[in-house]
């Protein structure tokens, strides 16, 4: 899940007749389109959620980019390049979806760079070995899919449509990641060790991607009523654990949680909560890579300013010349 703990802006607003009619449209399964009336809270909440999602795609290039130059075969290098290219593309659709709500990409970047907007906590963890490219695809893309598949039915048209395309590519990434893990697990002792180490480090952070339990959250209730959020965090986390534990078994890896057991009665795996203190520290900026990730994005933006300025100046000059000639 690339959007965590998205606060709803709607909870404090007074409900008007227009709000009631709007909610009725959503309840009837209609899509809300950019130029139609929507409550201000709905619009602002969506900007926050789509923006956070877009930022996650863009920052998400960095931990993988860390291994593109060290990919061990030409095929893996090509796959990884294709994957980060897809991610940048997802960022682009999502920023475009946000633009339909009246916020520009540059404004969203400013909010990211100044720390006013977040990206998913998962990208504040380092990628230390090649097995992390497997673990990120398998677990991180796997967790993202859990959230994004239902979001294909979200109430806001442009967001729902962006998700359809994103989901197709994400499931391909997840299979690629799992394939890397499989190759490592069937490889040498060193490779198996790398694979286990990657799972050990990414398991907790992957569970945290869904956010803390929101059973009693008013924000979540409002967002679910608006169909901006489709499932509770616990529901999605459980689904992820249920799907992932057998996959880890298949790989011959141990999930780093001694309490994991199949609960016949519930029809689900029981598992331990991740370390939520760590999660809140990461959100506060104390994750292992928060500083580097934000710095890398800010540097890219600042160092690229002359290019963007030049492109604009060139476009203006061209238009001017055309006018003079015409």
């Amino acid at each position: 899940m690339y959007a965590q703990m998205v606060k709803s802006e709607g909870s404090n607003e007074k409900h008007t007749e227009q709000d009631t009619a709007f909610q009725a449209r959503i309840d009837a399964g209609e899509k809300i389109e950019p130029k139609e009336w929507m409550p201000e809270g709905y619009r602002r909440t969506l900007i926050r959620q789509i923006g956070q999602h877009a930022h996650s795609e863009v920052v998400g290039q960095l931990p993988e980019g860390n291994w593109i130059t060290r990919a061990p075969t030409l095929e893996r290098k090509a796959n990884l390049l294709a994957k980060v290219q897809d991610e940048a593309g997802h960022g682009l659709y999502l920023y475009c979806a946000a633009e339909t709500l009246g916020v520009s990409r540059d404004e969203l970047y400013d909010m990211l760079h100044s720390g006013k907007m977040k990206y998913s906590s998962i990208f504040n963890y380092p990628t230390l070995t090649w097995a992390d490219m497997g673990a990120v695809g398998w677990l991180v893309d796997g967790a993202a899919i859990m959230n994004q598949v239902p979001l294909q039915r979200t109430s806001y048209g442009p967001y729902a449509r962006a998700m359809v395309r994103v989901c197709k590519e994400e499931s391909f990434h997840q299979r690629q990641g799992f394939h890397i893990m499989m190759t490592m697990c069937n490889g040498t002792d060193d490779q198996l060790r790398m694979a286990q180490d990657a799972l050990n480090r990414f398991w907790g952070p992957a569970l945290m991607m869904f956010g803390p339990s929101d059973e009693n959250s008013v924000h979540s209730a409002q967002n679910m009523a608006w169909k901006i959020k489709m499932n509770s965090n616990d529901e999605l986390r459980q689904k992820f654990v249920d799907e992932t534990v057998p996959q880890a078994e298949y790989l011959g890896l141990s999930v780093p949680d001694d309490t994991i057991t199949w609960n016949e009665e519930r029809g689900h795996y029981d598992f331990a909560e991740p370390d939520w203190n760590e999660f809140f520290e990461v959100l506060k900026g104390n994750g292992p890579c928060n500083t580097e990730r934000l710095e890398a994005r800010k540097n890219a933006w600042d160092e690229g300013a002359w290019v963007r300025d030049a492109m604009m100046a060139h476009a203006e000059k061209r238009a001017q010349r055309k006018k003079m000639a015409g």
Partner: protein
């Protein structure tokens, strides 16, 4: 080392080394569209590398694969142009390097499409479409950045001054090229110069950039005699896993 094998290494090493350099931009481009375009260019080049080095490995008949050639040769066995191993430095430098190469690669691949070697003709046909697109983009970007602002113009002129002495190597002909030309496998590199000049002169004019008058050319990449210091650093990164864990499958 057969002439054909060397010729194929030259093609594959060019695309590998440039593809690697371009891939170093991941997540650091001036705009999201440029991130996508750079990753796409790198991806095309790595795909072309698989074809060139794959064929080279078959011709060699020594049981090596494309990956062995990419990841287990040292700098002195690489046969890429020196131009392509120069560091990225900045976005302008990267795109100008790309343009100077694309302007050579497009006519080269066009000519290779009628190679007497069918495999080479097939690779060239596929790679040619990608190279044409790379050229359009790098040319437009070089023109825009040269023409843009005073600052961008200065950056581009500096990049041109710095890269110019690495362009002459593309048109050097040696015994490998002679053998390829004699068998109708590939054109004589010197024959590509006129087209290249036309493309480059036209773009530089629109970009308001001036090529240095000194036409000195650094050589030693395509024959492997003397690479720059940059190549072995690149390889130490690129090859780290294959070198650290010999024999492992990935």
């Amino acid at each position: 080392m057969s002439a054909l094998f060397q010729f194929l290494l030259r093609q594959g090493d060019n695309t590998l080394v440039l593809g690697h350099r371009v891939s170093e931009w991941c997540g650091a481009a001036p705009a999201l569209e440029e991130d996508i375009a750079l990753a796409n260019t790198a991806l095309d080049l790595i795909g072309q590398t698989q074809m060139w080095l794959g064929y080279a490995a078959e011709i060699e008949e020594a049981g090596r694969t494309a990956d062995d050639l990419a990841f287990l040769r040292d700098a002195y066995d690489f046969r890429n142009l020196l131009l392509l191993e120069t560091p990225n430095r900045n976005f302008g430098h990267t795109l100008l390097r790309q343009f100077l190469f694309d302007a050579y690669q497009v006519p080269l691949l066009a000519s290779l499409e009628s190679s007497t070697d069918q495999r080479i003709a097939d690779i060239a046909t596929k790679a040619g479409k990608e190279a044409q697109y790379h050229l359009e983009r790098s040319q437009d970007t070089v023109i825009a950045l040269g023409d843009g602002t005073e600052q961008s113009h200065t950056i581009m002129q500096d990049a041109l001054n710095r890269l110019w002495s690495y362009t002459g190597e593309m048109f050097e002909s040696d015994i490998v090229d002679e053998a390829m030309t004699a068998n109708g496998i590939a054109p004589d590199p010197t024959s590509l110069r006129d087209v290249w000049n036309t493309t480059v002169d036209a773009a530089l004019k629109l970009a308001d950039l001036k090529a240095p008058e000194d036409n000195f050319a650094h050589k030693g990449g395509k024959n492997g005699r003397r690479h720059t210091e940059h190549l072995s650093h690149m390889l130490s990164t690129m090859q780290v896993l294959q070198r650290s864990y010999p024999g492992a499958s990935w």
